[in-house]
Amino acid sequence: MTTRDWLLSDDPETRMQARLGVAYRLARDLARNPLAMVGFAIILGLLLVAAFAPWLAPYSPVEGELANRLQPPSWTHWMGTDELGRDILSRVIHGARITLTIVLLVAVISAPLGLLVGTVAGYFGGWVDRVLMGLTDIFLSLPRLVLALAFVAALGPGIENAVIAIAIAAWPVYARIARAEVLTFKGAEFLDAIRMQGASKLRIIALHVMPLCMSSTIVRVTLDMAGIILTAAGLGFLGLGAQPPLPEWGAMISRGRSFILDQWWVATMPGFAIVIVSLGFCLFGDGLRDVLDPKQRSRG
């Protein structure tokens, strides 16, 4: 019996085999989608670049030679240099770390928060639902960047505060999605059955309700990653995110703005990085949705 047969067996012998089988099927379906694989490759590339940034970057990201300022792309500086003579490629590479940190922290804070609020509201209904969803609506009614701006203004500029601000602005969407999902199976008999077994409300929500909302939330988070990157870049551009000399992509574009007509590469190179990484998350998220949520499979 090959490993593949073992994984695809209809009659797994252990819990472990059953779980691995489910994971293998998911991975196999995902691998059949070429666009999702492109997205996956981009994300993998981002992870590797971020992990090995100090070894990959040819120059220091923060120190430059003023004599070398604003050099166009060449063999010595593949992406050129900025107004302080720093190598832009090195800055973009180190910026990958900052971007990844922001994206992961926001996802880790906002997705569980949204999931919790949404499932609790959906499961309990009544006044709990009204209060929680009222709160969610207030947050949803404000544009994400404006809300994040307000929080950063209150908390002070910096990466940590930018993360908190973006997370606060991002969770309501997940709460809405999770609640809608809960409402579709709230009356299902498997929930009556588990209630009849004497399970606590906490147990029902955490072990029986949340897992069913998980896939739509994961898909949504992946698709939102692009938006999170753009919001972080927007905050950086406005000078409220990462502070100099940190090589945050949005902040780099902001600095390059003054030279955009004559030295186009200063603003363009980090812009490329943002576009490519956002695209990667979008493609991967789309592929994930097709696999995890066959009901909403995109046509074609």
Partner: protein
């Protein structure tokens, strides 16, 4: 084992049950029969603690009076009508059967789950399958196994075969009958299917618009001799289609 006295249930302004009273002895199998909307399923839900009781009293199992949800779970469990909706779609059979043991902190989960699979006639190799890998009849066996995991003396059956193919219905009914004899279970069955009643039950109550119009033994059903006009009407409709 089950005592229901003057039970009333209302949803908002509509009263769905009017002073329903009946008793089921230990080991007996009792059926509630009636058309849709007669309130028969509501009686089950009231006994299961899923709808609030407006008046009257309920006593279940060995304990009397009010019970916590956990204590009630040890006394009574339910098998639902739709085996496609009553199993969690993302949990394996093993998860579903282990869950009641985990909730009640019972030991020897592996042996108990395997013993229960044997008892309901499911192959052990199905243990780690997901519900969508099973047929309707197999799922209903899982649902029955789940209901028996805590060894409750009382089993509530909400039309347990009406969503199944005719050939599978007989298998499930035989399984229920033999489990009842083996474990000395008390059944409260809700159905509109009179042949199921005559196969599985000792006595029945006929409900109409939230009231019991007649109680009869199963011999009266077999002979088609109901006392009430509504009972005869129901019987005629079943016999003559």
């Amino acid at each position: 084992m089950i005592r229901v006295e003057d039970l009333s249930v209302r949803f908002g302004d509509t009263q769905v049950l009017h002073d329903v009273s009946f008793e089921v002895a230990a080991g007996e199998s009792f059926a509630l029969v009636g058309e849709s909307g007669s309130g028969k399923s509501t009686i089950l839900k009231a006994l299961a603690g899923q709808v609030p009781v407006a008046g009257g009293s309920l006593a279940l199992g060995d304990a009397a009076g009010a019970m916590t949800a956990k204590a009630r779970a040890r006394q009574v469990q339910m098998v639902f009508q739709d085996p496609y909706g009553s199993l969690h779609p993302r949990r394996t059979i093993d998860d579903t059967l282990s869950e009641p043991l985990l909730i009640h902190g019972l030991p020897d989960r592996d042996t108990r789950v395997l013993a229960m699979l044997d008892a309901v006639g499911l192959p052990r190799r199905f243990r780690f399958r997901l519900p969508h890998q099973l047929s309707g009849g197999q799922r209903q066996r899982v649902a029955i196994a789940r209901a028996l995991m805590l060894d409750p003396p009382v089993l509530l059956l909400d039309e347990p075969t009406s969503a199944l193919d005719v050939s599978v219905q007989a298998e499930i009914l035989n399984l229920l009958k033999s489990l009842r004899e083996e474990k000395g279970l008390t059944f409260l069955l809700v159905t509109h299917d009179l042949p199921v009643v005559s196969f599985l039950c000792d006595r029945l109550a006929i409900l109409k618009a939230g009231r019991i119009v007649e109680m009869a033994g199963v011999e009266a059903l077999r002979a088609g001799q109901f006392a009430s006009p509504y009972g005869r009407e129901l019987f005629d409709r079943t016999v003559h289609g």
